[in-house]
């Protein structure tokens, strides 16, 4: 690696929020720009320096054939490829199309469905190419992104926690909402990273970081039922921003 490592950011079907997280690192952005060469990051710069790149961030899910080609090129041009966000790690909210016939969706939204080319499924990049690291969350956490970038720049393999949000609740000193207030919460089956954000705001977790590494969804469902959740509510709870993550897919009744 001569000179500064080259950074590229690729966008697929997404809301831009995860790559915006890079620009939202107001305190660290200039240090980052000093540590890497921002070679291809259209949201930040119109300058595009040709690959290969040392590090690529991939945001968004794959929903069109054209995007699949772009993804393949992105993979080929990057030494390390990091998927950022629920879209890029589990297909995102737009993966709800996977549960219906996408042609029906097209008809619902567009007057001229024949103009629309789209794949039947919204899939994470990892369904198509090798992804080196995944940053969960809808959106990702700034701290985690910074940690992963720092690790990669320092030549250390990133390592992200896989445990439940409940751990973060306890660290933050938030008395459990389910226990103390009977509020339904996906925290026990959801991976940490947000710092127990929703519980800190008296709101049950809605699973935006996807399943934790030992997600016992069956046991959680028994709690949700005990709190009066209907079958429909339970299905919707798991069919959210990470609907296609295997444990949530199963808990939501499969495809």
């Amino acid at each position: 690696m001569s000179g500064k490592p080259k950074l590229a950011v690729f966008k697929f079907a997404s809301c831009d929020g995860c790559q915006l997280t890079v620009l939202d690192m107001e305190d660290e952005l200039l240090a980052l720009a000093g540590a890497v060469e921002v070679a291809n990051f259209l949201e930040a710069s119109r300058e595009v320096i040709a690959g290969p790149y040392d590090l690529g961030l991939v945001e968004g899910s794959i929903t069109t054939g054209h995007d699949l080609e772009r993804l393949t090129q992105a993979r080929a041009s990057c030494a390390t490829l990091v998927a950022i966000g629920a879209c890029a790690t589990a297909g995102g909210i737009q993966a709800l199309r996977n549960f219906v016939n996408v042609a029906d969706y097209v008809k619902l939204v567009y007057a001229r469905p024949d103009y629309i080319t789209t794949l039947a499924q919204s899939t994470p990049p990892s369904a198509h190419v090798k992804i080196d690291y995944e940053l969960r969350g809808c959106p990702i956490s700034k701290e985690q992104l910074l940690g992963v970038l720092g690790d990669l720049l320092a030549g250390r393999a990133p390592r992200l926690p896989g445990h439940a949000v409940c751990v973060e609740c306890k660290l933050a000193g938030v008395p459990c909402l389910t226990v103390a207030r009977g509020i339904p919460c996906l925290g026990p089956v959801t991976q940490t990273g947000c710092g127990a954000l929703c519980p800190r705001y008296a709101r049950g977790c809605y699973g935006c970081f996807g399943p934790q590494d030992t997600a016992n969804t069956a046991s959680l469902i028994s709690i949700l039922k005990g709190l009066g959740a209907s079958d429909g509510e339970i299905v919707r709870a798991f069919r959210g921003y990470n609907a296609m993550a295997p444990e949530f897919l199963k808990a939501g009744g499969g495809q």
């Binding site: 320092a154 030549g155 250390r156 393999a157 390592r159």
Partner: protein, 278 residues
């Protein structure tokens, strides 16, 4: 207001400079570390330090140097993961941290007046080298001393240059899993060497270090040959964050590997390793 004095070298790393770095095998290297804050600490064979690479993290690594020369810290490290891979890339002159020495090492005194079998597998020779140095220096305290060393291939042998020198003073037998055309020595697993070694089971003590399976087989073989289980000692490995029994990570049943071990009498280790997921 209350101050919280942390002890450098125990709670915070003590600074060391990598004075020499030598490659042992494709993935293993040896550091010679010179302390920058005062003289180096004394250590017993089998003890370990928590070594720190800036920003990358800390890992437990046994001291592989000569206990009679505590001024320099010698560590032999195999690059296997996120921290050790960063360490592998550090160069001579760079600074690192070290805390320690921690743990209970090999009970060398217990073995005196009898035969001593030093059985090592792979990188397991590193924690045993201080024992070798100790016996070389105090050869007269022991009867027969044998180093039985197994590695995967000849290229994986640690301290190859030193082995011959040791042969002049103690018995050294080496075996590899697969030798290749150049290899003239033994081929096969380490336990096989036990059968060839010259020792009196009734008066022998054995120190065994290597992969867990290898230690199990060697210990079984030693017991078979009549060595009392209590006189066999093995070294266990668990993930650890503090090295001094405060973080709870290295618990194995009721023991803390860091402070109750890493060296344990075989009967204790056998019991601990028998239960799944302990």
């Amino acid at each position: 207001m209350i101050a919280m004095p942390a002890v450098p070298g125990v709670h915070t790393p003590a600074r060391h400079v990598i004075r020499r770095r030598a490659r042992e095998t494709a993935d293993t290297f040896t550091w010679e570390l010179a302390p920058l804050d005062g003289p180096g600490a004394r250590f017993a064979p089998g003890q370990f330090n928590m070594l720190y690479a800036f920003g990358a993290g800390e890992v437990p690594v046994s001291i592989s140097g000569d206990p009679a020369r505590p001024g320099t810290l010698i560590h032999t490290i195999r690059a296997v993961g996120r921290v050790t891979s960063v360490m592998e890339r550090l160069e001579e002159g760079e600074q690192v941290g070290a805390r320690g020495p921690f743990g209970r090492g090999w009970p060398v005194a217990e073995a005196q007046e009898g035969d001593l079998l030093i059985v090592a597998g792979g990188v397991g020779l590193a924690p045993l080298r201080p024992v070798v140095y100790h016996t070389l220096a105090h050869r007269n305290r022991y009867r027969n001393v044998a180093l039985l060393y197994g590695a995967r291939t000849p290229a994986d042998l640690l301290f190859a240059a030193e082995l011959d020198g040791w042969r002049a003073i103690i018995a050294v037998a080496v075996t590899v899993d697969s030798g290749g055309p150049q290899w003239r020595g033994d081929v096969g697993a380490a336990p096989r060497l036990i059968g060839k070694a010259d020792f009196d089971p009734a008066r022998a003590t054995a120190f065994v270090c290597g992969p867990e399976v290898m230690m199990r087989f060697c210990a079984a073989e030693l017991v078979n040959r009549g060595v009392a289980a209590e006189r066999i000692h093995v070294s266990l490995e668990r993930n650890m964050a503090c090295g001094m029994g405060l973080c709870g990570r290295c618990q194995l049943g009721p023991v803390f590997v860091c402070k109750d071990g890493p060296v344990f009498p075989y009967p204790v280790a056998r019991e601990l390793l028998a239960a799944r997921e302990l």
